[in-house]
């Protein structure tokens, strides 16, 4: 087990190196610079800027600095936002994305697993059909449509909830974005739970459990769920990583100061240190959560041994 974990941690290092190098290369390929604007600069002013930000140094020096920054986990200063360090931005934006992502995640798990289990237990009933139809809709409606629709109903017609902005956590302002963000995950989890449960409920050990006279609820909660939720687990680990590291669309639609919003603007602004900082941060989060899921497997599924 320990050897497995160490091997997986070590592999993160070359992965990160590749991701960061690719990102850096792509930024360099894109024309324009953080200071390119509608208003043109005189060559001398451009020269001053290049001098100030070390852009006239040879490329390998600049690339080396990027790698060194990653090693120290200090990504330097944002180019676009004078006086703000990338680390500062990360630690300010991450809690927003994390709060939103976590709310959406818990909502998705609670609603998704409940619906999926009920659908499986009452297979081919109206409940099953209705919940799976809803799940299908959930998967099909993209969140840039769902978000505005929710805003229209709850924000602009009923005036129950604010249509956008971040008022800290907890506050009413998180409700609409969390629902918007969770919809597709609710749908996936419900479907995964249902099919997982259907398979498990037909298996021999459930028959054994019933045979030894356990009540139906005990069979479901103590035995069936444990096996039936394995597909959900492998889906929800990486899902959590993606959810808490920022979601571009939802954060933009609701104007939330999260990582996703920063990321998309950093790309438009050609803000190299910020792009690399966010990419590295998300990459580490995703790799770490994948590892955690693999470890969790070992505990939940008795068939898996490392």
């Amino acid at each position: 087990m320990l050897r497995f974990i160490i091997r997986r941690v070590i592999i993160i290092i070359p992965m990160l190196f590749i991701i960061v190098s690719l990102t850096w290369g792509l930024i360099r390929l894109a024309p324009g610079n953080f200071y390119t604007g509608e208003k043109k600069l005189s060559p001398a002013i451009e020269q001053n800027l290049r001098e100030k930000y070390g852009l006239n140094k040879p490329w390998h020096t600049q690339y080396g600095k990027v790698l060194w920054n990653i090693i120290r986990f200090d990504f330097g200063s944002s180019l676009k936002y004078e006086g703000q360090s990338v680390n500062q931005i990360l630690w300010r934006a991450f809690p927003v994305s994390a709060a939103l992502g976590l709310c959406a995640y818990l909502l998705a798990l609670a609603v998704g697993i409940t619906t999926g289990t009920l659908a499986a237990l009452r297979q081919n009933s109206w409940l099953d059909y209705a919940s799976m139809a809803l799940a299908m809709i959930g998967i099909s409606i993209p969140n840039f449509v769902l978000g505005p629709l929710l805003v229209l109903v709850f924000g602009l017609t009923l005036f129950w909830l604010p249509p956008a902005l971040w008022n800290g956590f907890p506050s009413k302002s998180i409700i609409l974005p969390a629902i918007t963000l969770s919809a597709i995950y609710i749908a996936y989890i419900a479907r995964l739970t249902r099919s997982g449960m259907l398979e498990v409920m037909r298996s021999d050990y459930i028959r054994t459990a019933r045979a030894k006279g356990l009540s139906e609820s005990a069979v479901v909660t103590r035995h069936a769920l444990r096996g039936g939720l394995l597909p959900v687990l492998s889906f929800s680990g990486p899902a959590l990583a993606f959810l808490i590291t920022g979601t571009v669309v939802v954060e933009r639609v609701f104007a939330l100061p999260g990582l996703g919003n920063y990321f998309i603007n950093a790309c438009f602004n050609r803000d190299e240190p910020l792009i690399i900082g966010i990419v590295a941060f998300i990459a580490i989060a995703v790799l770490a959560f994948n590892l955690l899921v693999d470890i969790a497997y070992g505990f939940i599924d008795p068939r898996i041994r490392y």
Binding site: G37, A44, I45, V145, F159
Partner: protein, 653 residues
């Protein structure tokens, strides 16, 4: 100035479409858009646009930052709330010498920074020198290039000094005609009084000082500081090249820049050229005063809410990037008694649909210009809280005059003449434009008219240019349509506008000109390198209220020009205009230059901008002015609904 807001990505576009459904749901009878309940606190909730690059007034270039800086910092002059003409702020009054090449500002003596320190002329000297320092690398530094030796200092230039300590002078290396045109600020003066128009006795434009005499001595030669640039400059002037042999290069220092604190409350600024518009530049954020000790102590981190010291009617309380900037009234501000709001919260919002939603829900009181999406105009424009006015801004297409068919003036004129700009303007709820300066912005300016819509003449011109069949008639098939394309970035309304004009050409002169879409920054790079085929979209928002700011676009062959057309004769007329003291005569000369450029047709003028924003009726003291700049101390929240704004001037009926 750039508007760095409203860059719609694909999903946001669809999002917008989805939300149009929301718009349609409101009844047409409503007078105002959404809720009209004033906020409980006496605090204005304003959308300032995209997240500010910095709260350091010398750094950012965009309008969103300008409006935040207007709350936090004071300048020598401020924008008039209705006209945006300069009004006294920290300068109580000023004197201008006879040819507008030197300005003396008299500062009010009760002005203080937010920490209580007095604001003196020395603070302004520090502020502008700092803005010009190459280390700060401010992108707006060129706004201060009118000041003597400012450009040389900002570019890291050098003077040339001989063994006797004498500097090489420009007059020895240029012809006499050139010297005769030098402004008063470069000529020796007998007395201060002879230099300035008569003023009452107790008010003097400062005293004569050694620095003043240095400013009025003949201009020194300034050469580029780097070897390569210097070699290039010297190769162009052999006489100068010979003269520098054995002489020493002395860097231009901040102390050489034409800024002088004559005493604590008198600031004298000497310019390289007559610039009557210089006063209009002073409210720009680049010239707003900053606190030296704070900057020297905290360096880059001086704008942190815990460190910052400001000079405006409001001071910073907190800054949450990508969310909001909270400011509160500064009791130290000299006119604090007349500041009506307790504070302003600036929201950093980018998405127009989100802004409109929040405004409708009553979570916001006012928003920045261009926030109302074009697709909503039919519904929004009848509403009483819609603020529309002609804007000191223009939309236009550049011609690449250096290559391809568009290097022929007849082709350029034909392409311009074959667009029905009235139809374009009607479709966009905006004003059409045929000239290089925006229409209806500068009262008394005798703006020349460009060519009217005339497709028949366009065809004749194209035939003359050689695109004709055997009988001498225009033949669209002969036109090399693979050598001309309309290049644009897809953001905002650019694409629909390009398509509209493409259809116009197809319909009116049967030319099929393809549209080429480029990502914003990629496009800007191509534009400045003249790396586009034929035609490229662009726009300009005024930095200061003067027609010269628009004519200046063709003042140099590079930079914002983008067309490749440049004519020293055009520059000569502009210079002459700026030397002219009588404002009406000056306007006539500017108009003469504009007419000359219109003959060359380096671009296709399309439309004058429109401000397009909204404010709740209870917000008073904010007006739809041509730059959408609001001097915040005049703004207040009116709780008596009888005194609300129920009608505002409207540009489109």
């Amino acid at each position: 100035m750039s508007h760095s807001s409203s860059r719609l990505t694909g999903f946001a576009r669809i999002f917008l479409l989805a939300i149009i459904a929301a718009g349609c749901a409101t009844s047409a009878k409503e007078t105002f858009f959404g809720k009209t309940k004033p906020p409980q606190a006496n605090v204005l909730r304003y959308v300032s646009g995209s997240e500010p690059e910095s709260l350091d007034p010398q750094i950012p270039t965009g309008q969103p930052e300008a409006r935040i800086c207007m709350a936090l910092y004071s300048g020598l002059t401020e924008y008039d709330p209705k006209t945006t003409a300069p009004i006294p702020e920290l300068a109580e009054r000023w004197e201008v010498n006879k040819d507008s090449s030197e300005f003396v500002f008299h500062l009010r003596q009760d002005a203080r920074f937010s920490n209580g320190d007095p604001i003196t002329a020395r603070d302004f000297v520090y502020t502008i020198r700092r803005g010009l320092s190459p280390e700060l690398a401010a992108r707006n530094a060129s706004l201060a290039y009118y000041i003597k030796y400012a450009e040389g200092y900002n570019e890291g230039g050098v003077f040339v000094r001989d063994a006797n300590g004498q500097f090489l002078l420009e007059k020895d290396f240029s012809d006499e005609a050139e010297q005769a045109k030098k402004p008063l600020s470069s000529k020796p003066v007998d007395s201060i009084a002879s230099e300035y128009p008569p003023i009452p006795e107790e008010k003097t434009p400062g005293t004569d000082t050694p620095f003043h005499r240095f400013m009025h001595s003949p201009d020194r030669v300034v050469l580029p500081g780097d070897e390569k640039g210097r070699k290039k400059a010297l190769d162009a002037n052999p006489k100068l090249k010979n003269a520098i042999a054995g002489k020493e290069f002395v860097p231009v220092k901040p102390g050489d820049v034409g800024l002088e604190a004559v005493d604590d409350y008198t600031l004298r600024i000497s310019l390289t050229q007559p610039a009557p518009f210089f006063i209009s530049l002073m409210p720009h954020q680049f010239f707003r005063v900053v606190h030296e000790k704070t900057i020297e102590q905290f360096g880059n981190a001086w704008t942190d809410p815990s460190n910052i010291v400001t000079s405006g009617p409001f001071k910073l309380q907190s800054h949450k990037p990508y969310d909001r900037i909270v400011t509160v009234r500064d009791p130290m501000y000299w006119d604090a008694a007349n500041v009506k709001l307790d504070g302003i919260t600036f929201f950093a919002l980018q998405d127009n649909a989100t802004i409109m939603n929040l405004y409708k829900a009553g979570e916001l009181d006012a928003m920045l210009n261009h926030s109302v999406p074009a697709a909503w105009l039919d519904e929004i424009s009848p509403m009483k809280d819609f603020m529309d006015a002609p804007e000191a801004a223009i939309d236009y297409f550049l011609f690449n005059t250096t290559k391809g068919p568009t290097s022929d003036v007849r082709v350029r004129k034909a392409l311009n003449m074959s667009i029905d700009k009235r139809a374009l303007a009607a479709w966009r709820h905006i004003k059409p434009l045929t000239a290089l300066t925006p229409e209806g912005i500068f009262p008394g300016y005798p703006q020349p008219k460009g060519d009217p819509f005339d497709p028949e003449k366009a065809k004749r011109l194209l035939a003359e240019a050689g695109y004709k069949d055997g009988s001498g008639k225009f033949d669209p098939k002969k036109f090399p349509s693979d050598q001309v394309e309309l290049t644009t970035n897809p953001d905002g309304n650019n694409l629909p506008v390009a398509e509209f004009i493409q259809a116009q050409w197809k319909q009116n002169i049967e030319l099929a000109i393809p549209i080429k879409i480029m990502e914003f920054k990629t496009f800007l790079v191509a534009q400045s390198k003249l790396d586009y085929k034929g035609i490229a979209r662009t726009g300009w928002i005024a930095d200061y209220m003067d027609p010269f700011n628009f004519l200046w676009l063709y003042y140099t062959p590079t930079g914002n020009n983008g067309t490749g057309w440049w004519d020293p004769k055009y520059v000569e007329i502009l210079d002459e205009a700026n030397r002219t003291i009588d404002p009406q005569k000056r306007y006539q000369l500017l108009a003469k230059a504009e007419a000359m450029a219109l003959e060359i047709q380096p671009c296709i003028p399309l439309t004058t901008g429109a401000t397009r924003w909204m404010k709740k009726p209870y917000v008073k003291g904010m007006y739809p002015n041509p730059q959408t700049m609001h001097a915040w101390k005049f703004v207040y929240i009116e709780r008596d609904s009888a005194k609300w704004d129920y009608s505002v001037p409207r540009m489109v009926g």
